[in-house]
């Protein structure tokens, strides 16, 4: 049985609105709330705040780049979150993107799989007696990172993938590694509106090399990305349409092998904030 979480950014909201949004995600019955970390808000700080204003909702980072903190600090941060939230925390780490890593932390991740392997070893060494077990997920798209995750982590966090790609990943990581995918959804009875939102969203990733490469591996070509995302690409990557149609599409990801789907709603303003009406429309269909 798959679980459904929410992925999104709440960091630009007024603080009271942030609290309300987190509580509404919890009240709707979603399993968890996931945030990324780049140069906006500190993911751990944000989720410690979130843990304090909720009681049941679980949390995860999707993802925190390994260049942002020493492995011992990453361990101290995940320990703080696990302890303070009462075991509601999952750590997701990733190698980020070469250009972004260089610009932000002055590192050149020439061999991301090797760097990740070394980092995970130091993270393991930083464990202390009595630590709670914090599930560890790794952002992975390609076979070597998937294999590393299968060996050293509890799960993988792919992004911008199709059900077919999830099925391939399942065959690489085996049955005991969890697959938790972030998935964009747009609920609108007018498909043209949903399609336009999905195009705008995917347009953001057109120039990101890691995602281009990954999408090409899903069977798409440059024509699907340039000069704008093709309809074929949009329908493959984004679950859109009525609530029933979106739910049907999400089932295909689950059947392909996803254990967890973290929904990124595209229907709010700004689009990256979790949109309660979309989440409320899907909740009765998904969370039974």
């Amino acid at each position: 049985m798959a679980t459904f979480g929410v992925y999104g950014a709440i960091e630009e909201m007024p603080v009271d609105a942030m609290t309300e949004r987190l509580q509404s995600i919890e009240e709707l019955g979603y399993d968890s709330f996931w945030v990324g970390e780049n140069i906006g808000m500190d993911a751990f700080v944000q989720l410690a705040f979130a843990a304090s204003v909720t009681t049941r909702l679980r949390f995860g980072t999707a993802i925190v780049p390994i260049w942002s903190r020493t492995a011992a600090t990453m361990r101290a941060s995940s320990r703080a979150l696990a302890d303070l939230s009462g075991d509601r925390f999952t750590l997701g780490v990733g190698a980020s993107h070469p250009a972004f890593a260089e610009q932000t932390w002055g590192v050149r991740p020439d061999a991301p799989v090797t760097r990740m392997r070394e980092y995970l070893a130091r993270y393991a060494e930083a464990a202390q007696e009595g630590d709670r077990r914090v599930p560890l997920y790794i952002a992975a798209l390609r076979p070597r990172m998937l294999e590393l995750a299968a060996e050293h982590a509890d799960g993988v966090l792919p992004y911008l993938v199709t059900p077919e790609r999830i099925a391939e990943m399942r065959s690489v990581v085996g049955t005991s590694t969890k697959i938790g995918a972030a998935l964009a959804v747009s609920v609108d009875d007018d498909r043209r509106v949903a399609l336009r939102r999905a195009r705008e969203y995917l347009g953001v990733y057109r120039e990101a090399d890691v995602y281009r490469t990954s999408l090409f591996a899903c069977g798409f070509g440059p024509d699907d990305l340039d000069p704008e995302p093709s309809e074929r690409l949009v329908h493959a990557i984004v679950a859109l349409g009525s609530a029933a149609e979106v739910t049907e599409r999400l089932r295909e990801f689950v059947e392909a092998g996803a254990d967890q789907l973290n929904l990124m709603t595209l229907d709010g303003d700004p689009w990256y904030e979790p949109h309660p009406p979309t989440l409320a429309a899907l909740a009765p269909l998904l969370l039974r």
Partner: protein, 269 residues
């Protein structure tokens, strides 16, 4: 003379509910600020974020973030995030920690490293828009004090007797904040606990050397730790006169090093 009174300690051993209660109780008691230190087990900024939503007026301080734990840009992101979530109630303390507490091979040229770190922290274009946190440097020796005087808003002093605070005021000039931590042990075995507190610190070679340089050792616990409410009042008065702008009580009694809420509630906040 009146100075703001705060509470400082390491909360690594607190249950979540206990930490929230602690923060709300010291806020109600009238304390100005909660400094969270330690961080060897639980990262400091996350602990502060957890108590932000249950408080309204209490200020917060990271006391301190060690510069060896993360790149300056990450500290900038964390500090600005806390400032944003607490709506300007957060200030940052940075320190170089102790060589004996930092993983092998990392601790080197602390003053130069701190200068570079503060510049990178100030210059990083990262983190949410929020009021700029005040910046304090943990400083004990003249060169770090001089650096704080040049680059920061103030200094955070630890294990520092009153006589030394007056010298620090001379060194950093009239405009800088000076936060002084004052360990307090109350009750029947207060002196025994005060002695143990100092002994635990002197076990670290760096503290032993610094205290030794001031002519102090384990038997000087009476100069470092206040052991009665009357002594606390006296110490506060003397520190304010010497130039302290904020006093942070630390509990040396109770289950030291675990902060002891009752000790803080017995003191005049």
């Amino acid at each position: 003379m009146s100075v703001p009174l705060s509470v400082t300690g390491s909360f690594d051993a607190f249950e979540p509910g206990e930490l929230r209660t602690f923060a709300t109780e010291i806020e109600s008691a009238g304390y100005t600020r909660l400094w969270v230190g330690g961080g060897f087990e639980r990262e400091v900024l996350s602990q502060l974020a957890f108590v932000v939503p249950v408080t309204r007026t209490l200020r917060f301080g990271a006391g301190i973030v060690s510069i060896w734990t993360r790149p300056a840009v990450t500290t900038r992101i964390g500090a600005m995030s806390l400032s944003r979530l607490s709506e300007g109630r957060f200030d940052l303390g940075l320190g170089v920690s102790l060589p004996e507490a930092v993983e092998d091979g990392v601790w080197a040229r602390p003053v130069a490293a701190m200068r570079e770190y503060v510049n990178a922290y100030r210059g990083a274009e990262a983190g949410p828009d929020a009021p700029e946190p005040r910046l304090y440097l943990a400083a004990l020796r003249p060169r770090m004090l001089a650096l704080a005087s040049e680059l920061a808003d103030g200094v955070a002093l630890y294990l520092t007797p009153v006589s030394r605070v007056a010298e620090v005021r001379e060194l950093v000039g009239p405009d800088k904040e000076i936060v002084v931590s004052v360990p307090v042990a109350l009750g029947r075995d207060a002196r025994e606990r005060a002695r143990r507190y100092v002994a635990d610190h002197v076990a670290a070679p760096t503290y032993a050397a610094i205290l030794g340089g001031l002519g102090l050792g384990v038997e000087s616990f009476g100069e470092l730790v206040a052991t009665s409410p009357a002594q606390v009042a006296e110490r506060v008065e003397a520190l304010a006169a010497a130039g302290a702008t904020e006093i942070a009580f630390q509990s040396a009694g109770g289950d030291w090093p675990k902060p002891h809420l009752e000790t803080f509630l017995q003191l005049p906040a």
